[in-house]
Amino acid sequence: MAKVRGAIVVDQERCKGCGICVVACPTGVIQLAKQVNGKGYNYAVMDKPEACIGCANCGQVCPDSVISVYRVKI
């Protein structure tokens, strides 16, 4: 069966840590980092990268367009 794997790249300096992507992710991949970026926001990171299916939900709801989504079939 063809499986789909995805990955996201977050522009950490532009992320404002609103957490909307955390809620939007159907597989619970994204969490807010414990570290902060230059502006003091806890930016979004891939907490469980193996669970990402590349659905791009996080990218679509991101108000600051900081998330790029990649997807491959394996």
């Binding site: 532009r14 840590g17 609103c18 909307i20 939007a24 590349g54 679509q60 108000p63 491959v72």
Partner: protein, 269 residues
């Protein structure tokens, strides 16, 4: 499961979603989680998809989105408070082959600009109106707007809006849906991925209606103002689903075209 390294996934050819080209690299001044960001992005995506970057004129309002010209790489004009539909009328009549849209908040469109929007829609101008309704004046510090729900606490209604003192919330989208000049009136939101996709389709339809010259397209986006509502962005979305959607139900209110001149000429014959 065959293992694949993250580095092998993150390659140019696997990219399926990224920032639209029309959005500039300027960091947006909006608060974390603000719906304006998503709305801007959707407009940018539609402009990208239709390949009309050099034929689009945006009219920005007074309000938080007054600086929209920094974020979308298209032609912009900045209107006096509430007068965006009047400017859009001029722009569209002078350049009928361009796509003209106004981007207004509820303090701008439903309050001081109510006359302009009603008359622009009544004239059936071939423009697209994007109306961000967050039930509050966000930019100036969360004061009560005409769209504020009854009982909602704001900076100028600290005990909640009362109908006796402040009147009733204004459903301006319902008002506009009754006008003969409008072609497409809809109310959407951008709080979930599904809602975002629906809103993008609505905005696309609004822009395509300008080609058909069938009247004004009016797209309300029910939004959050987490700073004004004093909630976290995620909590704001929940509050909006719970309270705003009851009073401002989502969906299309009108989807046809402006009424024909003949149907109005009969009164004089």
């Amino acid at each position: 499961m065959a293992d694949i390294d993250i580095k092998d996934i993150i390659k140019e050819e696997n990219l399926i979603y990224t920032k639209p080209k029309v959005i500039t690299d300027t960091v947006m001044h909006y608060c974390p989680g603000c719906s304006h960001g998503v709305a801007h992005k959707l407009v940018a995506e539609v402009i990208d998809d239709m390949d009309i970057q050099d034929k689009t004129i945006g009219i920005s309002p007074v309000g938080c989105s007054v600086l929209a010209y920094n974020y979308l790489d298209i032609d912009w004009q900045q209107a006096a408070h509430g007068r965006a539909p009047a400017l859009a009328t001029a722009a569209k009549r002078l350049m009928p082959n361009h796509y003209v849209f106004t981007y207004q908040g509820d303090g701008d469109l439903a309050s001081i600009g109510a006359a302009e929007i009603l008359h622009a829609c009544n004239r059936g101008e071939n423009i697209t109106v994007i109306f961000i309704n967050n039930a509050i004046y966000g930019m100036t510090g969360g004061q009560m707007a005409p769209t504020t729900l009854v009982g909602m606490k704001t900076a100028t209604s600290p005990y909640g809006r009362s109908t006796e003192l402040n009147g009733y919330p204004l459903k301006i989208t319902e008002l506009i849906a009754q006008l003969p000049g409008v072609a497409y009136v809809t109310r959407q939101s951008v709080h979930t991925p599904a809602a975002v996709r629906k809103t993008k389709k609505a905005i696309r339809k609004g822009f395509e209606n300008q080609d058909k010259k069938i009247g004004t397209s009016f797209i309300e986006i029910v939004s959050t103002c987490s700073s004004g509502w004093k909630l976290s962005p995620v909590k704001s979305n929940e509050w909006m689903e719970e309270h705003m959607f009851k009073f401002y139900p989502l969906g299309d209110l009108k989807d046809s075209e402006k009424e024909s001149e003949e149907s109005y000429k009969k009164y004089i014959e």
